[in-house]
Symmetry: C2
Subunit: 289 residues, 2 copies
């Protein structure tokens, strides 16, 4: 997905929030925002938002002097999710369709996103996810792919969501690789966050190698790219990964996300707040089975 003009004020607001959280004074913040505004002026809009985000967050790390300003927030998000994990397992296992219930919960957990300005309540999201119809839900196509796949590649998004990702991987019940970011960026999950969520019990944890807040293929490691081009089923979680990978329609991939901004919602043809499980062309093409 390309970068939209709407992303420009959004990046500026994100920069402001991160600098404040990192405890910068106003002159520091203004310096960072000024540098980001110059960068964005020259950034080609036909490239994806996470590519811009990668450079924006490099600038922020230099100005704040902090590699991981969201560390505490990430740890607390994961702790909170772990505290409701036993209840989530019960909800899934007693539901008429455990796989697709786990999918819904995994989508709901995508509200745990500190890249956007919105507040969230994870307990309310879980309740709503079970009662609300997703706007796009390629559930049967996913089920067919799960049945036919001997392994899956699961590209994670934010810390805390990782607990819900673990639940879905358990329901899928196939050998899995869980992909984390190469370095901390916003509250995206790193290896440390995945370990806190217990993902090593259900998957191999592999870094994509990127420092972008999304899986920008040109910045990923050879190890990740081999997995990406070789896996019979890919699950891509969240907005940043959708923005980076939405053009990869020839990969058997499903995007799981909650649409949290007008740009993403518009690109998907849904409303802000809607839940989405969307297969690529390849994922839904039964002639490839």
């Amino acid at each position: 997905m390309r970068t939209y003009l709407d992303c420009i004020p959004c990046f500026m607001g994100q920069a402001l929030r991160i600098c404040r959280m990192a405890g910068c004074d106003e002159a520091d913040i203004k310096g960072a925002m000024d540098e980001i505004s110059v960068f964005l002026r020259d950034f080609p809009l036909d490239r994806t938002p996470p590519e811009a985000g990668m450079h924006v967050h490099r600038i922020l790390k230099r100005h704040t002097g902090q590699e991981d300003p969201y560390r505490d927030i990430k740890r607390k998000s994961t702790e909170k999710a772990l505290s409701i994990y036993p209840r989530l397992v019960k909800t899934v296992e007693t539901s008429p369709d455990p796989l697709l219930t786990a999918v819904r919960l995994a989508i709901a957990s995508n509200v745990i996103d500190h890249g956007t300005a919105k507040a969230y309540d994870i307990d309310r999201e879980v309740a709503e996810a079970l009662d609300t119809e997703p706007a796009i839900f390629d559930g049967e196509a996913l089920r067919a792919r799960v049945d036919g796949a001997d392994r899956i590649l699961y590209i994670g998004d934010n810390a805390g969501e990782t607990v819900f990702d673990r639940l879905l991987i358990e329901q899928i019940g196939k050998p899995a690789v869980f992909v984390v970011r190469g370095v901390p960026v916003i509250n995206d999950a790193t290896r440390e966050d995945a370990l806190q969520a217990g993902l090593e019990k259900v998957a191999d944890i592999v870094s994509s190698g990127t420092e972008a807040p999304g899986t920008v293929l040109g910045t990923c490691s050879r190890e990740f790219l081999d997995l990406f081009y070789g896996s019979p089923l890919i699950i891509s979680k969240g907005q940043g990964n959708y923005e980076a990978l939405s053009e990869q329609q020839d990969r058997p991939m499903f995007f799981l996300l909650k649409a949290k901004c007008n740009v993403i919602a518009g690109h998907l043809g849904v409303n802000v707040g809607d839940m989405v499980l969307k297969g690529t062309d390849a994922a839904k093409d039964r002639t490839r089975d």
Copy 2:
């Protein structure tokens, strides 16, 4: 009130909305946003947001080629408000305290603001205004000033609100001057908009002379400044006027507004969405009577 870092992404978003409404193509919009980002980089933050807004809207007028992109929206806002005007009159006149009821309705009408990104429903706002306690309400101080004043200066904000301003001026029942912007800026009321609302029936209409979206004194006409420094009671409507005039604590002035962004809410010590009637030091100082 000074300009806050939060105003920077907000100005960028406002520019984008206005350019889109004016029908600009993406390259034009990008050009306008780039020019605005350069301007904002050099704008001293100790000056007020409407001063920045004045320059931002000059840039937008040049890029869009449109002097008044909100003309249709303003006309419709005023028509809508006029359509409920007879009902509003009845509500005020049958209430136990017509003056302060008219004040509440005038505050509620301040949602008719296209400078912010928020949607609004004027009928709902009217109902809520009668049921909700304002966060700051210097009602008795206003009543005392109204009783003692032989004339008032009423500085208007947005078109459509003007119908509610007329209602309040009628309740005050003193000779009045209603102040409009010197040129169209966002949906702020100009002379044309005030006339459509019927304000000439209850007040003399005078332009402040400014082209800013707020009463930036250094850009106002001599005629307006004489009125501003000579009036025994000033009513200042809306966020833009508050931003421009909040330091003028030695004028007998009341700010009527709905807090529509975090910056204004923080400056006033209220929550976003709260209604405010706030007198200056001079307005509340009874020793001056």
